[in-house]
């Protein structure tokens, strides 16, 4: 057991402190270069620097390389390569606005190292009912999964602290599930994602000092997707991600096409006392935030906390599902 605890502790500390200490200088560099965008939900004309992706990927790569030194697993290589590729894709999109097709297509290509490294098991495990073997279908699932998780996290990055806070809850829930399923090595490999998200949340929470940008959000989402595949917990991972899945589902069912989020109308607006309220514009997309605001105006912090409560609820459902994996009918 000690051979697992030592790498776990070292990688978690590295993941947390690399992001904790590299984000403030990154904020200074980005501010000096004037890489900043307006925070749309603030009363003053507040400019926030972006992207925070570089410190996030640094924390992930450093901690995963250390874990590779201990375990030499192809699964860790798949995490490092695919997540780094997702960061590069996001960074390109941060610097130069690309078309709606760019991220899904390139993220699908970024998923290929998982296949080439053989870091997957083509059995899909379901709670209560057991496994189903789908060798060909599973290859398609891998190629689709990374764009879906990447864009799902990206689409929930709408308010201060939501993407990173949501990722803390979802990734720790997934790690707990992996421990319940006794997949200890992948559980330890998954822990840095939670700690990186937690360290970044310190600077991303309300009032944000930095936004993750596409590079940060895609890095979070892609790593989450790879862990789900290499850990064989695809269904549990989807359950832990359900609030963000609902957001994407509501968005797509109202917009009815894949579209870059910059091209759509803002589904919320500010009240005179600077609370968020849902817009009267019937052509604006339906989103999770818009549904939360249907009951009346709320502050940005209250909306974020509502999303976190939903994430905790779905994290609980994921943990129950993990226990249901252990039994079968």
């Amino acid at each position: 057991m000690i051979e697992l605890i030592i790498p776990a502790v070292i990688s978690c500390l590295l993941a947390f402190f690399v992001v904790y200490f590299t984000t403030p200088p990154l904020i200074k560099i980005l501010a000096k270069k004037n890489y900043a965008v307006k925070d749309m939900n603030k009363k003053e004309n507040v400019m926030i620097v972006r992207p925070g992706g570089p410190s996030i990927i640094l924390g992930i790569v450093v901690s995963e390389i250390v874990l590779y030194g201990f375990f030499q697993l192809n699964e860790i290589l798949a995490i490092i390569i695919t997540t780094t590729a997702a960061f590069v894709i996001g960074y390109v999109d941060d610097r130069k606005v690309m078309g709606g097709w760019f991220k899904p297509v390139t993220l699908a290509i970024a998923a290929l190292p998982i296949i080439f490294l053989g870091a997957y098991d083509s059995d899909l495990a379901f709670p209560l009912f057991g496994d189903v073997q789908i060798p060909l279908l599973y290859l398609g699932l891998i190629v689709f999964m990374i764009p879906i998780t990447g864009n799902t996290i990206n689409s929930i990055d709408v308010l201060n602290g939501v993407a990173s806070g949501f990722m803390v809850i979802a990734s720790f829930s997934l790690s707990i599930c992996l421990f319940i399923l006794q997949n200890y090595e992948i559980a330890i490999v998954s822990l840095p994602l939670g700690f990186v998200s937690l360290a970044f949340y310190k600077y991303h929470k309300i009032p944000s000092k930095i936004f993750p940008g596409d590079s940060g959000a895609l890095t979070f989402g892609a790593m989450y997707g790879v862990i789900a595949i290499v850990g064989g917990v695809e269904i549990i991972a989807a359950i832990a991600l359900l609030p963000a899945v609902i957001n994407s589902f509501l968005f797509l069912s109202s917009v009815k096409r894949v579209v870059e989020h910059r091209q759509i109308k803002n589904p919320t607006m500010l009240t005179p006392d600077f609370k968020l309220m849902t817009t009267d514009d019937k052509t604006a997309p339906v989103t999770l935030v818009r549904l939360i605001l249907a009951g009346g105006p709320l502050t940005e912090k209250q909306v974020a906390h509502s999303i976190f409560k939903l994430a905790i609820f779905s994290g609980g459902l994921a943990i129950i599902s993990a226990f249901m994996m252990v039994v079968s009918i």
Binding site: F126, G130, Q133, L136
Partner: protein, 76 residues
């Protein structure tokens, strides 16, 4: 609205579990032997088609459920 969201989350979870059951019961034991060494590719292709149909049904069910839950919430 918030209780509706929790209800929707729970309904999605139940649908995932039930969908998994159908996948395991329907797709799991499905095999074809009469196509020589390519039998697994053909069987996989059929499994893909069935899985896609299941996903479409799942999305339609969710869509109906979403309308039912949120319209009920907004009317109350």
């Amino acid at each position: 609205m918030k209780s509706g969201l929790y209800g929707f989350l729970f309904a999605m979870w139940v649908l995932i579990i039930l969908g998994g059951g159908i996948m395991v019961v329907l797709l799991g034991p499905f095999t074809i032997q009469q196509f020589g060494e390519f039998h697994w590719i053909i069987a996989s292709g059929i499994k893909v088609a069935i899985a896609l149909i299941l996903v479409v049904i799942w999305i339609l069910l969710l869509s109906k459920l979403k309308n039912w839950i949120f319209k009920k919430e907004l009317n109350s």
